[in-house]
Amino acid sequence: MKAILLSFLNFRESASGRVVPPSGFTAQLTVITSAAMAFLAVFALALSMATGRLAERWGNELARGSTVRISAPADQIDTQIAAALKVLETTPGVADARLLTAEEETDLLEPWFGPDLPLDTLPLPALIDIQEMPEGFDAEGLRLRLAGEAPGAVLDDHSRWRKPLLRAAERLRLLGVLSLLLIAGVTAGMITLAANAALAANGQVIRTLRLVGATDRFIAGAFVRRFTLRGLMGAVIGTLFGMVAVALLPSADGAGSFLTGLGFVGGQWVWPLTIPVLAALVAFAATRVAATQTLRRLM
């Protein structure tokens, strides 16, 4: 492996590497395009990973919490709270059910109404916080039982808005992966075109090489190594720029939205480093196919 890597790195200086003439602008274009694709791939990867984290967070945090809201006349509220708590205690899948205190309700409303909220003058509903067991509970069954025992109680298990959000996050993650595949495909297409152009422009070189006894493997290898190195070089540059750009995005915090969380966390920073390797593999495969097909056509 080390020998293969060294032969690749020494390629430019080796005699076999010099049989293909330098092709100036085409070479620069390949490097620049590869860099641009790698840059986009870093963002696609960041998007995919951020949405993955988001979906996981929503799935874990929101699935475990539900609320029962009780709105009833003042003379019935305590009765309905007690009835609702009793129903919840006997509901399979409910780990804990607890009536929120007035202070806790004030804390919840403070971001919207300010710290001096006169809670006692407002007709606020009572809130029961439910902690679910990992297996969850039967929300529809609980609703029916609450309707019978405490008519003013409404179960909000967050599933109505959580599920579409989870679906959206999953779709975004899928789009990120799809974007990566598209970028790989476009890179392969671009390198194939560049390799075909180089092979066509070097028809006389190929004929001369064949006349002095070069095998298809040797000729294809000369082009494959050159384009693989260009693809790798461009991808390294693009990936580094992409990683710096992602690192410079505003950092995620407790109140951060989705956009502020777009980036890599901890060990995820290793993943973008695989992009140059994959780009080199794509360039290798694309050039090899193009070279093999062209050489078969030539003689």
């Binding site: 005699a15 006894g213 298809d216 040797f218």
Partner: protein, 223 residues
């Protein structure tokens, strides 16, 4: 070494060469003559499998060229040195790199001493670092000859090697080819220069292959 069995070659429905039966024996020296367009280059191309006979068969080093794969053809060409009419150099490489190209494509090490000796033998010691476009016609032909022999091939095919050079240079190139023949190499020179053939006749037992009416006619050392 190279054998033609009632071989012929046609292209686009037109027969260029036909009914060729001959053997190029090891160590032999042949001149291939005929008017321009007679098929001399086509005959040489059949000898190194650049073209495939469309009739009969051609055998090179005992191998039927019809059954050869692409890699086998490549390996075959390492045993046959060809001096092309237009030399066919890679202009971005130096003369030394062009001459050493057969070694490079074969993955063989390049001995700088041997390469210098070879370039000195063809009188190109001063042009070792020059690019092919900087060479004169005669220098290009001598560089092509050096490239053709660097692998110490069994056969040397030269297509009009003296076509673009003056008489003095023609004699010099002929002398180099005669030296190679004396080393045991089979030499075939395509030319329509009868003076050159007469000049060679005094030094080497050359046979003349004349292409006429799409057929090869053989004659002995005397014209």
């Amino acid at each position: 070494m190279i054998e033609f069995y009632d071989a012929g070659y046609g292209y686009g429905g037109r027969e260029l060469l036909t009914e060729m039966s001959l053997t190029l024996a090891p160590g032999s020296f042949h001149f291939l003559t005929g008017p321009s367009g007679a098929g001399k280059t086509t005959f040489l191309k059949l000898c190194y499998r650049e073209l495939q006979a469309t009739a009969g068969r051609v055998s090179i080093f005992g191998e039927d060229t019809r059954s050869m794969g692409r890699d086998e053809v490549a390996l075959l060409r390492r045993r046959i040195g060809v001096v092309h009419q237009d030399c066919q150099f890679l202009d971005h490489l130096s003369v030394a790199e062009n001459v050493a190209l057969p070694l490079t494509v074969s993955g063989l090490p390049r001995d700088h001493g041997d390469l210098s000796d070879l370039l000195a033998w063809v009188g190109l010691s001063e042009q070792i670092h020059a690019r092919p476009p900087e060479l004169s016609g005669g220098e290009r032909q001598r560089a092509a000859l050096a490239r053709a022999v660097i692998m110490s091939p069994d056969v040397i095919l030269a297509d009009e090697p003296t076509g673009n050079v003056d008489w003095e240079m023609s004699l010099r190139l002929l002398q180099l080819l005669i030296e190679l023949n004396r080393m045991g190499k089979t030499v075939v020179i395509a030319t329509h220069d009868l003076h050159l053939i007469r000049q060679a006749k005094a030094q080497v037992a050359a046979r003349v292959l004349r292409i006429s009416n799409r057929r090869i006619q053989q004659s002995g050392a005397d014209l």
